[in-house]
Subunit: 340 residues, 4 copies
Amino acid sequence: MIIVLKANVSDEDIAVVEGKVTEFGYEPRVVQGVERTIIAAVGDEVTHKSLETLQNMPMIDRVVPIQKRYKLVSREFHRAPTSFNVGKNKIGDGNFMMIAGPCSVESREQLETVTKDIIASGVTVLRGGAYKPRTSPYDFQGLREEGLELLQEMKDTYGVSIVTEILGAPHVEKVAAVADVLQIGARNCQNYHLLEVVAGAGRTVLLKRGMSVTVQEWLSAAEYLLVHGCEDVILCERGIRTFEPATRSTLDLSAVAVAKKETHLPVIVDPSHAAGKADLVLPLSKAAIAVGADGLIVETHPNPSEASSDATQQIPSGSFDQFMSELQPFIDICFENRAK
Amino acid sequence: MIIVLKANVSDEDIAVVEGKVTEFGYEPRVVQGVERTIIAAVGDEVTHKSLETLQNMPMIDRVVPIQKRYKLVSREFHRAPTSFNVGKNKIGDGNFMMIAGPCSVESREQLETVTKDIIASGVTVLRGGAYKPRTSPYDFQGLREEGLELLQEMKDTYGVSIVTEILGAPHVEKVAAVADVLQIGARNCQNYHLLEVVAGAGRTVLLKRGMSVTVQEWLSAAEYLLVHGCEDVILCERGIRTFEPATRSTLDLSAVAVAKKETHLPVIVDPSHAAGKADLVLPLSKAAIAVGADGLIVETHPNPSEASSDATQQIPSGSFDQFMSELQPFIDICFENRAK
Amino acid sequence: MIIVLKANVSDEDIAVVEGKVTEFGYEPRVVQGVERTIIAAVGDEVTHKSLETLQNMPMIDRVVPIQKRYKLVSREFHRAPTSFNVGKNKIGDGNFMMIAGPCSVESREQLETVTKDIIASGVTVLRGGAYKPRTSPYDFQGLREEGLELLQEMKDTYGVSIVTEILGAPHVEKVAAVADVLQIGARNCQNYHLLEVVAGAGRTVLLKRGMSVTVQEWLSAAEYLLVHGCEDVILCERGIRTFEPATRSTLDLSAVAVAKKETHLPVIVDPSHAAGKADLVLPLSKAAIAVGADGLIVETHPNPSEASSDATQQIPSGSFDQFMSELQPFIDICFENRAK
Amino acid sequence: MIIVLKANVSDEDIAVVEGKVTEFGYEPRVVQGVERTIIAAVGDEVTHKSLETLQNMPMIDRVVPIQKRYKLVSREFHRAPTSFNVGKNKIGDGNFMMIAGPCSVESREQLETVTKDIIASGVTVLRGGAYKPRTSPYDFQGLREEGLELLQEMKDTYGVSIVTEILGAPHVEKVAAVADVLQIGARNCQNYHLLEVVAGAGRTVLLKRGMSVTVQEWLSAAEYLLVHGCEDVILCERGIRTFEPATRSTLDLSAVAVAKKETHLPVIVDPSHAAGKADLVLPLSKAAIAVGADGLIVETHPNPSEASSDATQQIPSGSFDQFMSELQPFIDICFENRAK
C-alpha cells in the first residue's frame, strides 16, 4: 500500500507512521517528494491487515491500496478462459449461450408454450422465476414450489436445462434439486450469507451484478463463491442505477469489457431487466454480443401484456425465432472461429 | 392508473385499450387531449393487477401509476408519529435516540472500554457487529457467536441495549436472544426473504436504506416488515452511491426530510458509513438532527487506527463525551418542546 | 397534463384546482378514482404555461406532464431519418461515418501523421481540438489559433473534413472558417447561449450529451439548435457519470437506442472519452455499431504516451487500419442494405 | 505520482518506465513490493506534464496522482478563511449571509413585493434571474435587459445588493453594471471560457457546483476564477444528479463539509433548486447551517403558484419572516461566537 502524507509533516510524524507500518507487518520505504512525502508499505495486502485504518492519523492524507481484493476469479491467477457445460450446452472460451424464458413461471400452459417456442428457435436453456423478489409485498411473489414442479416437468419432457433464482438459504435444497443453474439476483449480489450457502450446492451459479455494485465488488462477490467451493460461476451484467429515467437501469456494457479482461469466468448480459422495454432488447442484445459477452439471458413470454411481472420487457415467445435470427449474424462474427 | 396513448392513435386502438382496462377489472375513462388521448383507469391499484403490463401494446406511450405501493408505513394510513422503547430509551414522536459503538466487536477489552465511554457520555444503546458483511472474503468476518456473547455480557453488566446486524435467516434465533434491535444492513435492504424472517422475531428492526434504493423502495421494504408482523421499525439513512469520491457514500439528508413526511416510523441517520471519514461525522450529525432525524447511529472505537473494520470512520470513544456535548445544542433546539 | 390530488380532498378543493386550470387556459376534466381524484388538463402544453407550478398547492400531490418538450427533433414531427453530407461523406439514414483524430492538435508533424494514417484506413473526417476545455487551469489549453491553422492546412493538403470543438461565442467566426463540423463538448451541452450562437454559424453541429444530462434534456438542447436555424445536427453519446470507477464514464448505449427511436437526427458514439482506456475502445466501438449508432468519433494519436491530453484513451494511429478492419464486419452487417 | 506496474513485469520493463519518468522530468524511485513493483516519480505535478499518459504502456497497471490540481483555492496555500463584503453584508470567517429572491424577475410589482418582504425579514441581498437557462427553448427565457433594469431599480430604491446569473460572455458588461455578485449556474460550472471572462469583471462571483461535478473539479473550476484575477468567490452547493426521484437533485451536504476543509473560500447552499419542493427548503436550510455552510440562497416569490419558473420550490415571500425566525436558533448556535 501507498501512504500519502499531508503537506509539511515533520520528521517525527514520518517516524510515527513508519512505526505503525512496521507494527502491521509491512516494511516501510519512505520516498520524499517535492511537495509530499509518501511511504510505500511492502507486504502482501491480502494476508496482512489493511493499512487503510491509518487514514485516521492526523498526518496522513490517504492510503492507496495496490493489490486487488480477489484472486481466484482473476486472470492473474488463472489465465485461460474458463468454460463448462450447463446441461448439454457449453459456455465460455468461445462458446455462446442463450438463456431464455419468462420472468415468472405462471402456469403449465404458459411455461410449456415458451419452452416449445424457445426450442423451436434453437435454445435449450430455460429461465423462469419460481421465487420472485418483488419491490412491494403486495405484488405476485411467484408460484414457489408449484413453480419448481413445473420447471422439473419441462426438464423431464423437453430436455431443457433450468436457470432459476434463489432468494434464501432455506430454499437451496429444493431449488438445487430442479435447477442446473442457481441464479443470485441483483438485490442479493452482496448477500454474502446466501453466496456461501449457494456455493456449496453443487450447481453452477449465475451471479447478477447489483444495481450499485462496482466491477471490483462484483468480482469480490464471485470470489466468495469460488472460496466456498463453487467453480462454475457465470457473471451477469443487468444494468446499474443512474439518473437516466429513459430505461429501467443503465446497461453497463463497458463493465462487460472490463470484466472480460479481469476474470477468466464467463460473463453474460441481461438486456431485458436493464432496458425494461421489449423494443430495446434486440439492439442491446446485438451490442452485448459485439462487446464480447459469452451469452445472453432474455425474457420471453407467450403473451407479455398478461404477464404477472415485468411485462413491459418480455418479448413475445411466438416471435423468438425472429429475434434469434436477427442476432445470428453477430453471433457468427464473434464466435465463428472458436465455437465449433 | 393513467394510460397515455401515442400521438395519432385511431378510435379502434382506443377501444382495444379500453377493453384491456376493463378486462383487468378497472373502469376506463377516456380523456381526449389536444395532442394525445389519455385513459384514466379507475380501480384500486393495490388489489388489482398493475396495468403497467400494457406498456407493451403498440399504441401505448406509457402507464403512470397514481397510488403508492405501500400502506401500513404511510402517514395516510397512520397519521400520528410512531414511538416505542428500545430498552429504557424511547425513540420517535419527539424523542431523540443516540446509538453508538464500534463497527465490529473485537474483544472484551475493546467492547467494555467503548461501553463505559458511551455510558459516560449519557448513551445507553450500544451497537457492535458480531456478523460482518465484508466486500472481500479475505476480510475479517466478525467474531460471530463469540461476539454475541460479549454483547450479552455488556447488557448484563452495564444495562445497555444492544443493536447488532443480522446476515442470514439461520442466525435469527441466536441474534434475537441477545439483541434489542436487529439491524438489516444496506446490502440486505431488499433481501425480502430475510425481511420476512426477521419480522417474525419479536424484536425492533432497524432497516438501513440500500445504496441504490429509492425512498419509495425503502418504504416498500419496510412495508414487508409491517405486513409480516413487525411494528417497531426504525428506518436508517446511511448514504447512497453517487459519482462523488470525496466521501464513501453521499449522505442523502433530503431523503430523511422526505421520509419523515411520508411515514410515521422513526428515521435515523448513520453519518459514519456515509462519510467514511471520522472528521466529517460531527458536522453531518449536526445536520442530521437539524433536518429532522429522530436519532443517530455513530461508530466509536477505543483506538480507531487499530480497528478490524471501517477504521477511518470511527470516532475515538475516549472523546465521545466531547462529541455529544457539541451535538447537545442542536438536540436542545430540535427536541426541547417534546422530549421531556 | 394530469394533476393528481392528495387522498381525501374536499369538493371545494377540487373546485379550486379546476379554477386554476381554467385560468391557465386549459380545460379541466375531473376523474374520480377509488382512492384519489385526478384532473386532466386538456390544452397544448408547449404553447400554454406549465401547470407544474400548481404543485405548490396544498391539495395537489403531483403534476404529470403528458407532452414532450421538444418538437423539431422528434420523429413525431419528422418521421424519416435525416441525412446530410460532411464534406464528401454522408451521415444518417443508413450511412456510416467514422471521425478520427487526436484529442488535441499538438504540432504539424503530429497532425500530419495522424491525417495520413486515417486516410490510409479509409477515413476522411478528421477531429482535433484547438481550444481545449480542461479541468485544471494548469493543464494544456490547446494551441488555439495556431491549432486552427494546422487543421486548415490538413484540409487544404489532404482534403479531409474537419471536426473541432468550440468553447465560447467569441470564437465562432474563426472556428467556423475552418471547421465543417462545430463540436459542442459535454460540459457545454446545456450552455444555451453557446447553442444559440453556434446554431447561426451555417455549419453542421455535433452536440455531445452532457455527463448528467438525460436523453430528454439532450434532445431539448438539440431543439435549441433547430429552433435557432441549424438543421444539420449530429448527436453524440460519450458516457455519463455514475458510481463506477473502472471506466472514466459509463457509456450509455441504451441511450443511443432510445434516441434513435425518438429523433430523426443521426446519433454517433465517442467510445474514447467514455472508456478513458485505449484497450476498451475496440469492443465499445463494435457495440456502438451493433446498437444502431450512425457513426463513431475515435481518438487516435501517433504516439499516445506523449499526448498532451487524454493520452490513455488514444489508439496509436499507426494501427488505425487494423482497428478499422476489425470493425468492418460489424459495419457490413449493420449498413450493408442501405449504405450504398 | 505513483506508477503501479502490472504483476510479473521484467527488469527491462521497469527500466523502460524509469526512462520515461526521467524523460518527463521526474526522478524515478523504484520500490519492489511482494506482488507488484511501484515507481514513485518525484517532481512537481502541477508544473510538470502528467504521467497519466503512461497508463497506455503495456506494463503499467495505473498511475496515481499525489498532488491536487488546484492551489490558490486550497487551505494549504491560504490557511485562514476568506471573508469579504457583498454590499454592506459580510460573508465568510464566521459571518452568515442570506440571499433571497425569486427564481426569475417577472415584473416590477413582483420584484418590489419580494424585496420589501425580504427586507422585513432582515435580508438585504436580493437574488433574481434576468437571463434564465431553461431546459426547453419554449420555456420563459427571462426578461433579460428589462429584468436588469428592475434589479437596478430595487438597488437604487431599497439599497439591496444584487445577485444575478450570467449566461454568456457578451452579457458580462451589462450584468456587471447592475450586479454585486455574478452567478455562474450549475450548467456552466465547467464553462471555462465564461469563467475566464467573468473573472475579469471586478465583481464577486458565485460559482454553483455542476450537477455531476466532483468537489475536486468544482474547486478546480474556482481555481480558474482565482487564476484569472477574481478573489471574491463564493462556492454554492445546489444538489447533484443521482438515481433518487423524490427530490429534483440530491443535496450533497457532505460536500459542503469537505469543501470547508479543503478551501478557504466561503461555501453556501441552495436548498431550493436541490429539493425542488418548497416544503423541504426549511429542513434543508437548517441542515445546511448545521453542517457548516457560510450562507444560503433561497427562492421566494409573492405567489409561487403563478411563478414563471421553478414554481414548486419557491417559498411565499409573505411568510419569509416566519422562515427566517425558524432558522434563527441554528444561526445563533453556529455563528454566535464570531458573527458580531
